[in-house]
């Protein structure tokens, strides 16, 4: 059972290099029960007006869910005293999501893609692999506790 979700959503129009930029930011408790509701909320804000069945919506939901789960489990160790910070930058051209945990970070280059036949029954790394497949661009900060995922709208 999920704990009550207390999200603070701020929509602050600011001017970025590509023109009008809307930022949505929120703090997510380190509770896996919050992932589904967070994904729903952020997707609704990011893709208002987009067809419910659009491929972009599906890609955004997948990368959000996987990044949040990784941050909560691997980053924060499901420690209820820790939070995951999520920030979305929205322009006419793209959706850019930053997910930052309070963990020590990790070496993302050390996570292999588990797609070789002999690796298929190994269960780790599949979430990050999906993020890399479905986002147009993926970057990490130097510490390795923050992932930035960019999805182009077209």
């Amino acid at each position: 059972m999920a704990s009550p979700l207390r999200l603070c959503v701020r929509r602050a129009p600011v001017t970025g290099p590509a023109g009008l930029l809307v930022e949505v930011s929120l703090r997510v408790p380190s509770d896996l029960g919050c992932v589904e509701e967070t994904v729903d909320l952020v997707t609704r804000h990011c893709l208002a007006g987009e067809a419910p069945s659009s491929r972009l919506r599906f890609r955004l939901r997948v990368v959000l869910a996987e990044a949040l789960a990784n941050a909560i489990i691997a980053g924060n160790g499901e420690d209820p005293s820790k939070w995951v910070e999520l920030r979305a930058e929205l322009t006419d051209e793209l959706v850019r999501i930053h997910v930052t945990d309070q963990g020590p970070g990790f070496d993302h280059t050390a996570i292999p893609a588990p797609i070789r036949p002999e690796d298929l029954e190994c269960c780790s790394g599949r979430g990050l692999f999906l993020i890399r497949q479905l986002a147009d661009e993926v970057r990490f900060n130097e510490k390795g506790n923050s992932i930035c995922m960019t999805l182009r709208r077209r």
């Binding site: 789960a69 036949p117 979430g127």
Partner: protein
């Protein structure tokens, strides 16, 4: 997520997954399959016709279930995946690990 089971006239246990199979609830499906195996069920079909989303943990749970069923000498089939979910299996190459049919009826044929 809701999980319900129905026994097919030919002895196949059909497990319907309603909603989402994700990190927060994947153990429910694993428990249902484990109980079925403990009861002696050996032919299991998981029907995803009413499943909106499966995350990587859900995929991992299916991999684990597949191994357990195989170790017990049983057979697992999947069916009813929508286009998006099917693409997750294809991206992760798990479509090569599972027997996946378009519909439950197709999966049940010759099971």
């Amino acid at each position: 997520m809701g999980v319900s089971t129905v026994k097919d006239p030919n002895g196949v246990l059909v497990i319907h997954v309603d909603g989402q199979l994700i990190v927060g609830n994947r153990h429910e499906l694993k428990a249902v399959v484990q109980e079925a195996l403990d009861r002696g069920e050996r032919k299991i079909l998981v029907d995803f016709s009413h499943t909106g989303y499966i995350d990587s943990s859900g995929l991992g749970a299916l991999v684990s279930i597949s191994k357990k069923v195989r170790e017990q000498g049983g057979e697992l089939r999947l069916a009813g995946l929508n286009e998006d979910l099917r693409s997750l299996f294809e991206l992760t190459k798990l479509d090569t690990l599972f027997a996946i049919a378009d519909t439950p009826a197709q999966a049940l044929a010759n099971f």
